[in-house]
Amino acid sequence: MIGRMIEAMPWRAATLALALLAAPAGGAAAQGHDTLTIGLSQATGTFHPNIESMLAKSYILGFARRPLTGHGPDWRPTCFACESIPTLENGQVALENTPDGKPGMRVTWRLRADLRWGDGRPVTAEDLRFAWEAGRAFETGFGGAEFYRQAYEFLSDGPRSVTLRFDRVSFDAGSAGGFEPLPAHIDRAIWEADRRNYRSRTAYDTNTTNPGLWNGPYRITAVQPGAGVTLERNDAWAGPAPAFRRINIRVVENSAALEAQLLAGQLDMIAGELGLSLDQAIALERRARGRFRFEYRPGLVWEHLDLRLDNPVLRDVRVRQALMLAIDRPRIVQSLFDNRQPVAATAIHPDDPMLDRSLAPWPHDPARAAALLEEAGWRPGPDGIRRNATGERLAIDLQTTAGNRSRETVLQVIQGQWRAAGIEGRIANQPPRVLFGETLSKRQFNGAVLFAWISSPENVPRTTLHSDEIPRAARNWSGQNYPGYSNPEMDALLEALPQELDAEKRRPLWARLQAMTHRDLPALPLWHRAEPHVWPQWLEGIRPTGNMSPSSLWVTDWRVR
């Protein structure tokens, strides 16, 4: 009997252990909606708002701090830390001359009275003065160097009043770029002690859970580097109370694992700003429509093919137009993306207030493409690929980011569609680091490169279209005009646009800019990428913006049904 009991014990113990281990995965759903667990596909390094620009950081900080301004879901500028967006009409923008007599402007923001850091101290003009001083000092290494260069003087006539003087006129100065309050009472001493190493010594990274760093509805209470962040309600927040006591952000970089954790109940939702790929979300929706809600928001991510205009073949605008006409974009969008992404006419998004609606996207027209190629001297060869009078084949190198399954598929489809038009597409994809770090930035490509630009509403595309912005060794490869587009009329437009403060007077300038890029095609527009948001059925109030202001900035609107 005893022997039998002893023999049976290990099995019983094993059964008990298995039963304990196999308890349902604790998961987000079991936490009674007091905690929200969000999946993201990218980790963030620094938590400093002004050092390095990352989507993941922007999303996380949306819960924990208020920038001065942003763009709302309607894409209009909106105030977060200020009371109203400065305009000429409300007197917060004034035109003036700089001390050396150039046209300039003075912009004033009035800070919200109820905004406090998590340690109870009010957010004041001193916090913005510190941000401005640190931004102006080049060795600090803040992003947006141009903004701080232009804002040459800081003035304040009270703890809630901030005025910057700019050495030029610009219609978007009121939206303040990345200018936002930094906690001077914590970080100023660190910065003053060692400006050059402030990047690595800031309290945002050495003491991230310090409540005094955060002035939003939540504050960061735990960081697992590369793996996640925990946020809890900020007691000093005076705005509307957020619904969740705690928000866990979990970083799962592999999208299949991200989806598995959602289905296993470990995640409540996946952020559209940085989560599943569109094709993966569409496939998931077919399988799990009843369990989750899906929303697709086309955003300011413009997928396109940059063309190397120095290439003698691509220099001919007829060839570029033929390449465009040979791509059946509606069919690609329908078959690969379930019609969730709008086909682009130009880089300007359909929701942008300055879109010229009279300009239709290029159609798929193989006959017209063939006619244009014939006119340009490219005639079908024995293997179906066109040749010019010297026998040269019409071959274009095609490149994109290796490992991006969606882009690789798109490129293969385009290769097939070009082949049908007698154009050979030679695919040679590269890892993102090589493609962006060398091939594009040093203009080492020779044909077409598929990638995306991220912008903001009414963003003047100077860096991608002005002839001064063509990367060259003499310019230390600065600039993003990778195609090498050079047109004096475009240069003049790009210089005039920012200086026109009247939106209605800017509209014809924008229309001309769009007409020129539509005709000249320095880049072949494909579509505006959609963000797929996946939410649980019980959550409501999230409003995806599609612009650079993440939905997390409106977390106080999120509610449990």
Binding site: L20, L21, A22, A23, P24, A25, G26, G45, T46, F47, H48, I51, E52, S53, F138, E139, G141, G143, G144, A145, E146, R196, S200, D205, Q224, P225, G226, A227, G228, N248, R250, V251, V252, E253, A256, A257, L258, A260, Q261, L263, A264, Q266, P432, R433, V434, F436, G437, E438, T439, S441, T463, T464, E469, A474, R475, N476, W477, S478, G479, Q480
Partner: protein, 315 residues
């Protein structure tokens, strides 16, 4: 033994020095330095800004001078800052190393245990040979990412018994165990085949040796022959396998860490190299190299201890 150690340690130091130089030059020559990334993030940086940034970050210096500065720092115990994680590189390395040691240590321990048991079984009981070979074949043929995803679908998504990956929110051994079962099982299955095959082959050879026949003739029981006489002798070639796996312990398991979203050295190394995080990548590479070299030395010493003929032959 001491002579070997005294001879090999300077060799290891010289290898590490050369390796650090080669790695530094290779990483430095890769496209996309921090300034190129800053240019992507802030398109309005002008040529003068870029010049100043290069000087500020020391990137205007020749690669060899930069390597020397880095090496001097390392020798003073300063491993530099991680660009990706905005923290000291060493601070980032330890949690990842701990994660890999736990994951791979458990998985490789389990794989070695089961593999040696299966291999021994195949050698001692020839009728089991086919089954063990089949098991080894399946284990070797299953890609880790595929097996991992299958396990997640079955145990996490369909049955809901175990988490699909990540790390536990709540502390406690039991919770930690629940999170590690699937990745450990995935890795153990993938590594089991090598141990099973090597053990089976080595044991079969040893079991044919004259001293085993002599032991049997003396009437020694089969269990004693297997465990006391055959296994220690068959273990000599397995030590090389273990030494190589010790390197894997600190280099991590990229695919398993990615599929199960577990922080570890494999993912850290890849992220550091791809993300241009020089300090972190070099520190991680040197740690992997040091561990592999030291483990190889330890395996050599253990082999000599187990089989004195090796020492005589090499002497």
């Amino acid at each position: 033994m001491l002579r070997i150690v005294a001879w090999r340690i300077p060799q290891i130091a010289a290898t590490l020095l050369l390796l650090s130089l080669a790695a530094y030059l290779a990483i430095g020559a890769m496209p996309g330095d921090p300034i190129a990334l800053a240019m992507m993030a802030d398109p309005r940086l002008g040529p003068a800004d870029i010049e100043r940034m290069r000087a500020l970050h020391g990137l205007d210096q020749p690669l060899l001078a930069r390597w020397w500065a880095w090496l001097s720092g390392v020798l003073r115990g300063e491993f530099g800052y991680s660009r990706l994680f905005a923290r000291p590189a060493a601070e980032i390395l330890w949690p990842a190393l701990r994660g890999s040691l736990v994951l791979l240590g458990t998985a490789l321990g389990l794989a070695a245990l089961l593999g040696i048991a299966a291999g021994s079984l195949a050698a001692l009981r020839p009728r089991w040979r086919g089954a063990v070979d089949a098991l080894a074949l399946v284990s070797q043929a299953l890609p880790a990412f595929w097996l991992g995803i299958l396990m997640i679908i079955l145990f996490a998504v369909t049955l809901g018994w175990l988490p699909a990956g990540g790390a536990p929110d709540a502390p406690g051994m039991l919770e930690a165990l629940r999170y590690i079962i699937l990745p450990v099982a995935t890795l153990a299955i993938a590594h089991l085949a090598a141990y099973a095959r090597h053990t089976a082959a080595s044991m079969a050879e040893v079991l044919r040796a004259p001293w085993i026949t002599a032991a049997r003739a003396r009437g020694a029981p089969e269990r004693r022959i297997a465990l006391v006489h055959a296994l220690p002798n068959a273990a000599v070639p397995l030590l090389s396998l273990l030494a190589l796996d010790a390197g894997a312990l600190v280099s991590g398991a990229l695919i398993t860490e990615t599929v199960f979203a577990r922080p570890g050295m494999g993912k850290l190394l890849t992220d550091a190299v791809m993300g241009n995080d020089h300090n972190l990548a070099l520190l991680a590479l040197l740690l992997v190299a040091t561990t592999t070299l030291l483990a190889t030395l330890a395996a050599d010493l253990a082999q000599r201890a187990l089989d004195p003929r090796l020492a005589e032959r090499r002497a």
